[in-house]
């Protein structure tokens, strides 16, 4: 139970003050530096308490929970269709991608499958969520190194994609468009041509970032051989997504297990980099954005006709069972472990979010790094606080 009486309230405040005191305690060997909770590199409110020896980090300890919203508990008192409204807010830059694994897990439990057209449009929106998400990273990484211009280009060009997501789903950031058994609506008229135009802008943006950032000498000096993660360590920490592929692991769920999505119908490539440093993580994401454009363009040309909803009862009751479905989300592998006991609401939902595992390597990774590199390493890991805290 939460603290209710005055005395408990006081104890609670005192404990919080004790938490906050960590950052002003100076130790004999070295000093303690507090980074955050408000810092532009953190995409939310993350706090890192770092013990320093000169310019080098001896120990880094991330403190989370500033944004913990308890979605796992809240999901237990909501019906299955209501849960998607919550989980949109986990990774708020690529919201549609959050809904898909949960819907797929529910569909697996119910034993139904979305029609082909719905799967196709799901894949398109999934990839567009990825483009909208990663575009911001491509610009934001420049800001962490002192280059302010790219972020404005990123916001400008992301708008093209967001407009298309909005015109199809009605929501710029939180579409809440995926339904058990299909999609809420069909695509609006003229959407396909308009989307192709916006993808051209993204391709132009990618070329621009390649010139501005990848080819930049300062960027290379600040990111090459910084924050190197070997493949085996990355795997045992549960790192996934572009972070893992930048360490040379050729694993992408879109290709290796395309459950309920149309990735196997198009021709595309999984990019990897062998270096595992901050530069590699940026480079892989840039190539993947281009690859996403390629996927969406091919899918737009081949949308099959047919219904967008399977036959689903109006009140959704999910048979008892357990299912785990994971997909390759913009930030990495995201999965939902759904336990049903045959009711209208899930019995338990475990949300496996990508950033949580990606960030759990940070105490290991930041050890020995220099203070200015802490910011670039964190930025290159690319996490979103909503995805860590859930």
């Amino acid at each position: 139970m939460t603290a209710i009486s005055d005395r408990r309230q006081l104890a609670y405040i005192a404990a919080q003050a004790a938490d906050a005191r960590v950052n002003i305690e100076l130790e004999a060997e070295g000093m303690t530096l507090n980074i955050g909770p408000q810092h532009p590199a953190t995409h939310g409110t993350l706090r890192i308490v770092a013990r320093l020896d000169g310019e080098q980090v001896v120990e880094a300890n991330p403190i989370m929970g500033y944004m913990h919203r308890g979605y796992e508990k809240l999901a237990e008192v909501r019906t299955y269709p209501q849960v998607t409204a919550l989980i949109n807010r986990i990774d708020w830059l690529g919201s549609f991608a959050n809904e898909v694994p949960f819907i797929l897990a529910s569909e697996q439990l119910m034993g139904i499958e979305a029609p082909e057209r719905a799967q196709h449009i799901r894949t398109i929106l999934f990839e567009m969520a990825r483009i909208a998400n990663v575009t911001l990273f491509l610009g934001d990484m420049g800001v962490q190194l002192g280059a302010v211009t790219p972020i404005f280009y990123a916001f400008r060009d992301r708008e093209h994609i967001l407009n298309q997501i909005e015109s199809a789903t009605g929501g710029r950031f939180h579409p809440n468009f995926d339904r058990i058994g299909g999609l809420k609506d069909d695509l609006p008229a003229g959407w396909i041509d308009e989307t192709k135009r916006s993808l051209k802008e993204i391709r132009k943006f990618c070329d621009q970032m390649e010139d501005l950032i990848i080819g930049n000498e300062i960027f290379q000096a600040r990111t090459r051989n910084i924050g190197v993660i070997p493949a085996d360590i990355a795997l045992s920490y549960g790192m996934s997504g572009a972070n893992l592929r930048a360490s040379g692991v050729d694993w992408d769920l879109r290709r290796d297990s395309p459950v309920g999505l149309a990735y196997d119908k198009v021709d595309w490539k999984v990019w990897t980099h062998t270096d595992g440093d901050s530069f590699a993580r940026y480079w892989v994401r840039l190539q993947e954005t281009r690859e996403s454009c390629k996927i969406v363009e091919q899918l737009l040309d081949t949308i099959p006709s047919g219904p967008i909803m399977a036959k689903v009862p109006r009140i959704i009751k999910v048979p008892a069972g357990e299912a785990f479905i994971e997909t390759e989300n913009p930030l990495g592998v995201m999965g939902y472990y759904v336990v049903s006991q045959g009711g209208l609401e899930p019995f338990r939902v475990k949300i496996r979010s990508a950033s949580f595992s990606n960030m759990s390597i940070s105490p290991w990774l930041l050890k020995g790094a220099y203070v200015p590199d802490v910011i670039t390493i964190l930025a290159s890991l690319y996490f979103i606080l909503g995805d860590i805290d859930r």
Binding site: V266, P313, R348, K350
Partner: protein, 232 residues
């Protein structure tokens, strides 16, 4: 890309999972107390509480499950508040006597005898298969071994499970709260921890939207169909 393999895939995966389960059964022996295989989809195993820690090193070194996916826990106690969407009686409104709160513990795939279960999932990149491992928490100590020696990524997952369920992972070096403030009392994801917002404002029930006149015919047909389970 995967056009050729797509049609045969379920059969192939199924064989691979059966073979994997056989290998695990042979290697773990008595430590393996339950399993569940969903052909073409997934595999669950349940090990005894004492062998939970050693299962990690077995899966990682012998079976090449290199990727650590997640670790968490489940509370199998049915909600003591009876406030599920399907229930007809609302306990919090003073109907404690009428409510028939179910008290028998549920259990999922691969079985289970205790209220709390730990579950973890690892993935193998060589075979591209995942496996969910479960174990019961002993009722008296609520403690199992830690996985962080084999999968360092389990560190934060175990801290989260510990604070949310009030369970313990023996051998974890720093089992402090990850999300909750240090003076927080209780373990929020336990089923008997009340969700206060649901306590003060009752759930209104499923609001049945009135059908449009022209589609009334089909809507009533739909809702009559929905009363029965589509799969059974």
């Amino acid at each position: 890309m995967a056009d050729a393999t797509e049609t045969e895939e379920p059969v192939v995966v199924d064989e691979a999972r059966s073979a994997l389960l056989e290998a695990i059964t042979a290697d773990l022996g008595d430590a393996l107390v339950g399993s569940h295989l969903l052909p073409g989809k997934d595999l669950w195993i349940r090990v005894s509480s004492e062998s939970w820690g050693s299962t990690a090193s077995y899966l990682r070194s012998k079976q090449q499950f290199r990727f650590f996916n997640f670790l968490s826990a489940i509370d199998w106690l049915p909600s003591p508040f009876g406030r599920s969407h399907g229930s007809s009686v609302d306990v919090a409104l003073g109907n404690e006597d009428e409510a028939e709160v179910e008290t028998t513990l549920g259990s999922g795939y691969a079985g289970g005898e205790t209220r709390f279960q730990v579950l973890a999932r690892v993935h193998s990149l060589t075979t591209n298969m995942g496996i969910t491992v479960k174990a019961d928490f002993p009722e008296d100590s609520l403690s199992v071994g830690t996985w962080i020696n084999d999968y360092p990524g389990a560190n934060w997952h175990e801290r989260e499970a510990a604070e949310m369920f009030g369970v313990h992972f023996a051998g974890h070096p720093n089992l402090t709260a990850l999300y909750l403030p240090s003076a927080f009392e209780g373990h929020p994801l336990r089923k008997d921890f009340p969700l206060l917002s649901r306590m003060v404002k009752p759930w209104p029930g499923i609001v049945d939207v009135e059908a449009m006149p022209e589609i009334e015919q089909s809507a009533t047909a739909d809702s009559s169909a929905s009363t029965e389970n589509p799969e059974s």
